[in-house]
């Protein structure tokens, strides 16, 4: 089992209007930055993933990206898999547990 750094880029699909990107693009010449085109604004999600090998890591990253991190109706994902970084002993988490079972009822 190894630990892989994953970077998921979520952006609007080609053909879906990206008014944020268009606004950024229109603004750049005002600051003297000419020659910038095809601006698309998206978001990046970064995490570590434990998996037996790179193929398995990529497969899981793709499935979780397509089922949760993005909405395939309007968004595309691009996944970057980093180098495997040693054994995947879980880090001690300090964040809030957001799993459904932890919600107050």
């Amino acid at each position: 089992m190894g630990r892989f750094e994953v970077l998921v880029e979520v952006s609007l699909r080609d053909g879906v209007a990206d008014p944020q990107g268009a606004t950024v693009e229109r603004s750049l010449p005002a600051l003297g930055f000419d020659g910038v085109s095809d601006v698309r604004v998206g978001k990046a999600v970064r995490f570590n993933l434990d998996a037996p090998d790179a193929d398995a890591a990529m497969d899981r990253a793709r499935r979780l990206s397509e089922s949760f991190l993005s909405n395939p109706v309007i968004e595309d994902v691009r996944i970057e898999l980093g180098e495997e970084s040693g054994a995947g002993a879980p880090r001690s988490g300090t964040g809030t547990d957001m799993s459904p079972g932890s919600w107050p009822s």
């Binding site: 879906v16 949760f68 909405n71 459904p100 107050p104 009822s105």
Partner: protein
């Protein structure tokens, strides 16, 4: 016996009391249901209200679809029960896969809070069954992500199957085909961006939303009687 409506409260919902007030004013029973509930009380209809469920983290509705109560909402929808998503509730229904398509940022990148005119299209839904097709309603919208979009195939299906429930007379947000609300195949699940609960008293500027909620109460009573 008046219809009983469950209004789901997610962390970040902010229109649940408006819906409860409106339902009460129309003679129905309404109660708030916490999103963490594993089941629904014995209600005849469920409303997912407006707001910012789970802070709209990731995408509006993306986290809310995992709320425990959504399993019960899903079961209710599958069983033919009336489920209506208003504004953020519509976004939750699309993310949960109970309605097709998605709501993206308004075309003008502006948060829009204004009263718009809507045309009643399909009357084959729990929200519009007693309405006049082509009738014009004046109801407020209040959203940043209300720009309805879907694939060309989905749009063709929505049109062919009479599943567009409401259209904007003057498209305010870039929605495909000026869609303001849609329904599922059976007509028991409806999502809409406008807020009928805010147009339930002439003092609020319009009473047109009350007509829609009356349809919902009538449809919900019918389900119970059946």
């Amino acid at each position: 016996m008046s219809a009983r409506v469950g209004v789901v409260l997610f962390p970040g919902s902010n229109c649940e009391h408006d819906v409860v007030e409106a339902i009460h004013a129309l003679g129905g029973q309404a109660e708030i249901v916490w999103h963490g509930a594993a089941s629904l009380p014995a209600v005849d209809a469920v409303v997912l209200p407006g707001g910012f469920a789970h802070g709209d983290y990731l995408r509006p509705g993306a986290i809310a679809r995992f709320s425990p109560v959504m399993e019960a909402v899903r079961a209710m929808a599958a069983g033919g029960g009336a489920v209506v998503g208003i504004c953020n509730g519509f976004q939750v229904l699309t993310e949960a896969g109970l309605l097709p398509g998605a709501l993206q940022k308004n075309a003008g990148l502006k948060f829009i809070c204004t009263t718009v005119e809507l045309r009643v299209e399909s009357t084959n839904s729990v929200l519009t069954s007693g309405m006049t097709p082509g009738g014009i309603l004046s109801i407020p919208i209040n959203h940043f992500e209300g720009n309805y979009t879907c694939s060309a195939e989905t749009l063709a299906r929505l049109r062919d199957e009479d599943r567009v429930v409401l259209r904007y007379v003057d498209n305010p947000n870039g929605s495909m085909d000026a869609i303001a609300g849609i329904r599922n195949e059976q007509g028991n699940v409806v999502g809409l961006m406008p807020h009928p609960e805010r147009a339930c008293d002439p003092l609020a500027g319009s009473n047109d939303g009350a007509a829609l909620l009356r349809c919902l109460l009538a449809a919900a009573s019918g389900v119970r009687a059946a």
